[in-house]
């Protein structure tokens, strides 16, 4: 039963139920990987227009990451860059008639938020060793429960924010289409495009701030405090 919120199951692999969002994600992954292979197949030292554009995209991503953590920009590029490439495509997929954004599924956004959650600690441990966890006891061990709550709430907020925005936009577009006719949803679709890009940027930026903050725990930086204050943003 499609209630407009839950996603249908498309495949069964043994006991596993493969939902539409997973298949859509595979499709997006296939497109992105094939496009990457095609675009990077004939790279030359003297770039053409397409290669210049591709290099511009990658270097812009690296530059944006370097603004937050210049020392680890190259290390953070695969994770954060993939967020910034995958999420716009996933968010905008709902604009195409008959298709749905994978990010309208809470399971997908929760999975991405969990990736961020584990990545934060993985990068933190990799950077500072097990001493990374000491920051949960600072400035006072009394604050440990609050730190832990903060970790979970920001992860939940990360998942809910993306899911809520994308799902609500798709629902709004669908409702307006049903109520007002064919041309009325166009402004909503344009808003959907902008919102999809903004949400993708916010998700990637928050992930970047969390990870960079974790990598800089040895010296308490403003990024950490700002990231905590940003976690509550809509």
């Amino acid at each position: 039963m499609n209630d407009g919120v839950s996603t249908p199951v498309w495949l069964h692999i043994g006991p596993l139920e493969i939902h539409e969002t997973v298949v859509t994600t595979w499709l997006i992954m296939l497109v992105l990987v094939v496009a990457s292979i095609l675009l990077t197949r004939r790279l030359s030292l003297q770039p053409g227009r397409l290669q210049a554009m591709l290099e511009g995209v990658v270097l812009t991503l690296e530059s944006a990451i370097a603004n937050a953590d210049s020392r680890n920009a190259r290390r953070l590029l695969p994770l954060i860059g993939t967020f910034w490439i995958f999420l716009p495509v996933a968010n905008l997929l709902g604009v195409i008639p008959g298709m749905h954004s994978p990010t309208r599924d809470l399971s997908v956004t929760a999975a991405l938020a969990l990736v961020v959650f584990f990545a934060v600690h993985a990068y933190g441990v990799r950077q500072s060793g097990l001493g990374y966890f000491k920051h949960y006891l600072s400035p006072s061990p009394i604050l440990l429960p609050f730190h832990i709550i903060s970790e979970f709430t920001r992860t939940v907020a990360l998942a809910i924010r993306l899911f809520g925005n994308i799902m609500s936009l798709e629902m709004a577009a669908l409702l307006i289409l049903l109520v007002a006719g064919f041309l009325a949803p166009v402004p909503i679709l344009m808003l959907h495009i902008i919102e999809a890009l903004v949400q993708a940027y916010i998700f990637g930026m928050l992930a970047l701030i969390y990870v960079a903050g974790a990598m800089q725990q040895t010296t308490e930086s403003p990024i950490t405090s700002s990231s905590r204050s940003t976690s509550g943003a809509p």
């Binding site: 839950s6 939902h19 969002t21 990658v58 399971s107 999975a111």
Partner: protein, 242 residues
Amino acid sequence: MELDWTTVALEIINFIILVWLLKRFLYRPVLNIVEQRQANIKASLDQARDAQEQADVLKRQYTERLQTWEQEKQEARHKLQEELAREKAGKLESLRMRLDKEVDKARAARESQNQQWRRETAEQALQMGAGFASALLRPLADPHLEERLVNLFCERVSAWPPERLSGLRNGGNIEISTAYPLQEHAQHRLRETLQALATDHRPVLFQQDTSLLAGIRIASGGWTLGLNLADELRGFAESHHE
């Protein structure tokens, strides 16, 4: 709106795989080519910097070499000017010496010419004097003058030293020429005087020679001695050559 943990797990795996694939097929190739280009640009910049440094070094060397060349040129010019001055002085000295020689030669030629002219003038004067004296004495030539000349001869020759008379003593016959016929006593005096000087009784022959104008000429073999107007005048005219 429920969480499907299968989807969550699959999405986590999907995303991790996507991160790895994009890293493998997108980020790494692009960043590699960018780094390669930056390395090439850096190498080009380093090469350009090296070329610039080499050019600076070469420029400095060329500047120093130009200065050295300029200095050498100045020194060579000074040396050339000195050599030219020395050469000029040498040539001027040589020219001056040649001019001096030419002046000396001209002076010598002029002296020689003057001497020649003087000699010719003197000879002409003597010839004229001789001619004048000859023209003056020719009317005065007579037997009395001749007799006085003979007497004078006899007086002078008797006073001569013996070595001046060796030719007479070693000669043969004594031939006496006179412009006029001699008187007997004159012939006798001459014969005695000459035989006394010759220290023997050699034959003495007398003959007349009007070309003598007045006076006598004595010959014995290759030896000749005279005291007559013609010989005296000729001797006067030729005295310049002696």
